[in-house]
């Protein structure tokens, strides 16, 4: 016969997990932990960006620097159990995508005292990065791509949103640079299709 008593005793809870635990759980497919991880990383990136910018005034901070600094900052705080860069970046890059899109949106909204702006270092060639709707659609497309082949969407996050080079990405993922380039090409094809899908030929 069932005993609810036993059940409750069995289920005595444990306290909140650390980042490395969250990553472990997320990698095992636990979406709740992945969600928590996302929130945590987002907060960290945001905070660090705010600090850097408050210090520097109007000077911009590159996404690459920001994500590096965040990694160092968090790793220093959490100590030896903190996961290595490769694993960290897989999640952080996705979060960075969210952060950037959010801030493009903020900038475009009529808002007092927005602390961020998104600028690109080279002159505008098209409208993509200035338009948050386009970026949002790209993000959706990337999420879809992630369901089919997650390594491709990760590479886009790492290269386009975080600014890592092919070489750096190759190191992080344990692939050859050539493979990374090829994946980048495939991803671009997929995204291009997705984004242009409802536009007339």
């Amino acid at each position: 016969m069932r005993e609810a008593v036993r059940r409750v005793a069995d289920a005595m809870q444990t306290a909140d997990p650390s980042v490395s635990t969250l990553i472990d759980l997320a990698e095992q497919g636990d979406e709740v932990s992945a969600g928590r991880l996302f929130t945590l990383l987002y907060a960290e990136l945001h905070r660090l960006a705010k600090h850097q910018l408050a210090r520097q005034g109007e000077i911009s901070i590159s996404a690459t620097t920001l994500i590096h600094e965040t990694y160092l900052d968090m790793a220093a705080r959490e100590g030896q159990s903190f996961p290595d860069q490769g694993r960290f970046m897989a999640y952080a890059a996705r979060v960075m995508r969210g952060l950037i899109i959010d801030h493009v949106r903020n900038r475009l909204a009529v808002k007092r005292g927005g602390t961020f702006e998104l600028t690109s270092l080279t002159t505008d060639v098209g409208e993509i990065t200035s338009d948050d709707r386009e970026l949002t659609r790209m993000s959706h497309a990337l999420d879809q791509l992630a369901r089919v082949d997650s390594s491709l969407s990760q590479i886009v996050d790492l290269k386009f949103f975080c600014g890592f080079s092919f070489g750096e990405i190759a190191n992080m993922k344990g692939l050859s640079e050539r493979t990374v380039q090829r994946k980048w090409e495939k991803a671009r094809i997929y995204l291009h299709r997705s984004l242009r899908a409802d536009l007339p030929l």
Binding site: R2, S60, G79, T129, Y190
Partner: protein
């Protein structure tokens, strides 16, 4: 042109891989050969390749890297000023040129933004208050502080008189000022500092970049006492007073006085030291601690331990320092020996008390030197290599803690104000804090690793030794005591926390918790609302409760639960706002409630669940567990409708939490369904709402989840246990209508449970299943097999130490097995044996001392047993005995219906009563 479906992508992906590897010239050929094999696919690939060319031309996604920029500050107003342009990057933040917004004066100001990382918890009010104190300083050589505040974005800013000049050392070098000229300039600096000191303001941060000289030669000191604005009162942060931002962004304590780095009081003597360093620098071009100290930690060590070299020793022929001072190396050396050497020595004494008592005294001696008069100080026979002020190990500690702080990037090491009696505390403080953190770090990394036990045991023993040695030093600071207490808690955790791999040293863990509470209680006796102490005390009580519960000491566990609850309340009364604290309190409440539940104190369990739900955590996720306990408690206490409502809520939350989820979360969900199933209805007259069909579907869901988990993890007991539980429920409902299917369910569960490693728990589950399945088997006509199953069940329980026993707990596995055996006799016509078996069961039930008047589970169990026995007695013709039992039962339920007037299940009870009575009436 449309988006590729996942299937299309899967199909085309490997071909893309291949074709992208081929050089463009050869792709046409490749495509042709693909076309032979699969034309449709080939045309898709071709189309994609064409697109690729197009997107290359567009430069699709090439625009990278992206960056983020700060808000446009130009044109924004701060106080009465409007920002014009950025003029530089200070050590603390960016600096902007600003003009008065109303254009009233020509005056320009410099607006300094202070990096958020340095301000800790500066509040606007304090900022303004301190700012107004500093603003009162007026002196020709002090750059006035015009305003201070915090911007709308929360960034602190300072508005200062704008000084268009360069740092004193650059100015001096550029103009190649000789020693005398430099000293005269320096005297201006001294007069400014003297004025501030007369106003009881200490600069705290004198360094070349804060001493500017205008083109007209006018000296202006910046940032007077600003460091004080940035230091939180309770949290004497090192940052602005001691750490200078170097060009590369690294923070170093280049100009700090020894007492600053070692955590002493900052006084006017500290300024004297800094002035000494500045003078040394001006005269020799070098820092007294030397130039080749790279790491901040080394620098600290140098500042604290190493005597400064004599000024004249530094001057060498190689550098052009003499040139910058319009002289030759030999002359410079001569100038710097003698009285100047003595004066510098006096300013740079490690011991603040041995320095110039005031800046004025310092200035006087310099003036005497310039006039070639005798100075006040006699050279020390040991020069300024005097006995070290600081004991060696204090320096090492300071250095370690600074090094740690700098490396980690945390700017608050919380150093104490110096006090003769607290010397030891200061020393030890950093070590204790490191200890607690390091311990957790290393321990959490290695726990669970094979073979780590020895190491962990060693660490525990080392830590304990250390902690004990601290206590013997006596007279401890409050915070230090709390740190020690916390360290003990961590150690105890490693020794015996049942929710993670522990060392199994439960007695020791208990002891260490007791140690910890000694410290905490002492603090609380003195300061009953010390939040940190309350937090640690609550943690201790909670850990004790868990430990006791795990060890089986229920009474102790309950006492601890009560203690924990009252401490949580006290903690909450201090109005904590930190998210982490709130989560912890909720977590504690949930376990307290769970503990009361296990002890069957349902009202208390309910109450603590409510309180746990009331804790204002920002995210309601994670409430699933509390809601489950609440539902179960309500159910057991007889509030079935309430229980059902709560299970619905719990399920909702748990579904959200478990979607996709990790094993433990899905188990919670399975439990949730299970509970809902039980509340909705069981086959027998359990407290339930009689909704068997709904129940069946809930149990089925629970079973599906549990099955899933069991399949995934070969070693997992928990999943299999849940399969067993859910299967029992389903089987018990099904067997009345379809024994064949029920048997299949039971047998499948048996397969599963036997997959798990054998233990007391698996034996119990297996026994349960075997006993339950015996009914189905018998109803399919296989009597012999039924008996075998029951025998096997008893055997298993015997192995598990649960049979035979003197007392039987209601609804336990033993109860079920005994009942199955008794029912087996009853249903195979062996009425006498059945009666004996039921009598024995009843006796043993009663021996357990149930409380049927107040505990619904006990009531239902006993009622069922009476019912079964009564009907057997009737069959045997022992009517009087039967009637007595039935009367007892009726009375029991009458009392209960008084308590729970509309409970459905009670209705069912009375209906079944009526049914039994009428059945017998018919039989007769």
């Amino acid at each position: 042109m449309s988006t590729l479906t996942p299937d299309q992508w899967q199909e085309v992906s490997p071909y893309l891989d291949e074709v992208l590897e081929i050089v463009p010239e050869q792709r046409a050929a490749w495509l042709l050969s693909l076309n032979e094999i699969d034309a449709r696919l080939a045309s898709l690939v071709r189309a994609l390749l064409d697109e690729q060319q197009q997107l290359e031309r567009e430069g699709f996604l090439e625009r990278s890297p992206l960056s983020l920029a700060g808000s446009r500050l130009a044109g924004q107003t701060f106080g009465a000023y409007t920002l014009v342009s950025q003029i530089g990057q200070g050590g603390m933040g960016s600096v902007w040129l600003a003009q008065r917004s109303d254009g009233r004066f020509e005056r320009q100001a410099a607006v300094k933004f202070v990096s958020l990382a340095l301000t800790g918890r500066a509040t606007e009010e304090r900022f303004k208050r301190e700012g107004s104190i500093l603003g009162r300083l007026t002196h020709p050589h002090i750059a006035e502080l015009l305003d201070a505040g915090i911007s709308a974005d929360g960034i602190p800013y300072l508005i200062l008189e704008y000084v268009d000049g360069e740092s004193i050392d650059h100015y001096s070098d550029r103009h190649q000022l000789d020693v005398e000229a430099r000293i005269r300039l320096f005297l201006d600096v001294l007069s400014a500092v003297a004025e501030a000191h007369a106003n009881l303001i200490v600069h705290r941060d004198i360094k070349p970049s804060n001493v500017l000289v205008r083109n007209d030669g006018q000296v202006k000191l910046l940032d007077f006492g600003i460091a004080k604005l940035l230091v939180h009162e309770d949290d004497a942060s090192l940052a602005p007073t001691v750490l200078t931002m170097e060009a590369g962004g690294a923070l170093t304590p280049r100009f700090a006085a020894p007492e600053q780095v070692a955590g002493g009081i900052v006084t006017t003597a500290t300024d004297v030291y800094a002035l000494g360093v500045l003078l040394f620098f001006l005269l020799t071009g070098q820092h007294p601690a030397g130039e080749n100290k790279h790491s901040p930690a080394d620098l600290v060590k140098a500042i604290v331990e190493v005597e400064a070299p004599r000024a004249f020793e530094i001057v060498s022929g190689a550098s052009n320092s003499a040139e910058k001072r319009s002289t030759t190396p030999e002359k410079l050396r001569r100038l710097l020996s003698g009285d100047l050497d003595t004066i510098l020595g006096k300013a740079l004494k490690k011991n603040p008390q041995e320095r110039y008592a005031s800046v004025t005294a310092f200035a006087d001696d310099l003036r005497r030197y310039l006039k070639r008069e005798a100075i006040s100080v006699r050279p020390d026979t040991f020069s300024y290599r005097a006995a070290k002020f600081l004991r060696r190990n204090r320096a090492v500690v300071a250095f370690t803690s600074i090094a740690l702080a700098l490396v980690i990037g945390s700017l608050s090491t919380g150093l104490y104000v110096a006090n003769r009696q607290r010397k030891i505390a200061e020393q030890r403080f950093a070590q204790v804090r490191q200890l607690a953190n390091k311990f957790v770090d290393i321990d959490s990394k290695i726990r669970g690793l094979q073979g780590s036990t020895q190491v962990r045991l060693q660490m525990v023993s080392d830590s304990l030794q250390y902690l004990r040695s601290l206590e013997s030093e006596g007279h401890m600071d409050k915070d230090l005591a709390l740190d020690i207490a916390f360290a003990y808690v961590k150690v105890a955790h490693a020794q015996g926390d049942p929710t993670s791999p522990n060392l199994g040293q439960f007695a020791e863990a208990k002891q260490n918790l007791a140690q910890a509470s000694k410290f905490v209680d002492a603090i609380l006796a003195d300061d009953a609302t010390n939040r940190r102490a309350l937090f640690i005390a609550t943690t201790i009580a909670h850990d004790r409760m868990v430990l006791a519960g795990d060890q089986g000491d229920q009474d102790e566990a309950l006492r601890d639960a009560a203690a924990t609850a009252s401490l949580i309340q006290r903690f909450m009364n201090t109005h904590p706002t930190e998210t982490h604290d709130l989560y912890s309190m909720r977590y504690f409440y949930s376990n307290v409630a769970g503990r009361y539940y296990v002890a069957r104190h349902f009202d208390d369990a309910i109450r603590y669940c409510q309180q746990g739900l009331d804790v204002p955590v920002p995210n309601k996720q994670g409430n699933g567990f509390i809601l489950t306990v609440l539902a179960a408690a309500r159910w057991q206490a007889g509030d079935l409708d309430g229980a059902l409502k709560t299970t619905a809520k719990a399920l909702e939350l748990e579904k959200a939490e478990a979607a996709g989820g990790h094993a433990s979360l899905r188990i919670n969900l399975a439990n949730g369904y299970d509970l809902e199933g039980e509340v909705l209805g069981r086959a027998d007259a359990e407290p339930s709402l009689g909704r068997s069909q709904e129940a069946l579907s809930e149990f089925q869901k629970a079973l599906d989840i549990a099955e899933d988990l069991a399949k995934k993890d070969a070693d997992d007991y928990l999943g299999r246990h849940n399969v067993a539980d859910a299967s029992l429920e389903i089987g018990n409902i099904l067997r009345h209508s379809n024994p064949q299917d029920a048997l299949a369910v039971y047998d499948h569960a048996l397969v599963r449970i036997r997959e798990a490693k054998s233990s007391v728990s698996t034996q119990r589950d297996e026994a349960d299943l075997l006993a339950a399945s015996s009914y189905a088997v018998r109803w399919l006509g296989r009597d012999e097999e039924a008996r075998q199953r029951i025998a096997r069940a008893s055997e298993l329980l015997n192995q598990a130490g649960r049979y035979p026993v003197d007392k039987v707990e209601p609804m336990s596995a033993t109860y079920d097995a005994m009942r199955a055996s008794a029912d087996d006799y009853a249903e195979t016509g062996q009425t006498d044996k059945a009666i004996v078996a039921y009598q024995e069961l009843l006796d043993k039930l009663m021996a357990w001392k149930p409380d049927p008047q107040n505990d619904l589970r006990d009531a239902t169990c006993i009622s069922r047993t009476w019912t079964a026995l009564a009907s057997l007695l009737r069959r045997s013709g022992r009517t009087e005995e039967a009637e007595r039992l039935e009367a007892q039962r009726t009375e029991l339920w009458n009392r209960w219906s008084g308590k729970l007037p509309n409970a459905q299940f009670l209705l069912r009870q009375s209906l079944s009563q009526i049914a039994t009575a009428s059945a017998f009436a018919q039989e007769k």
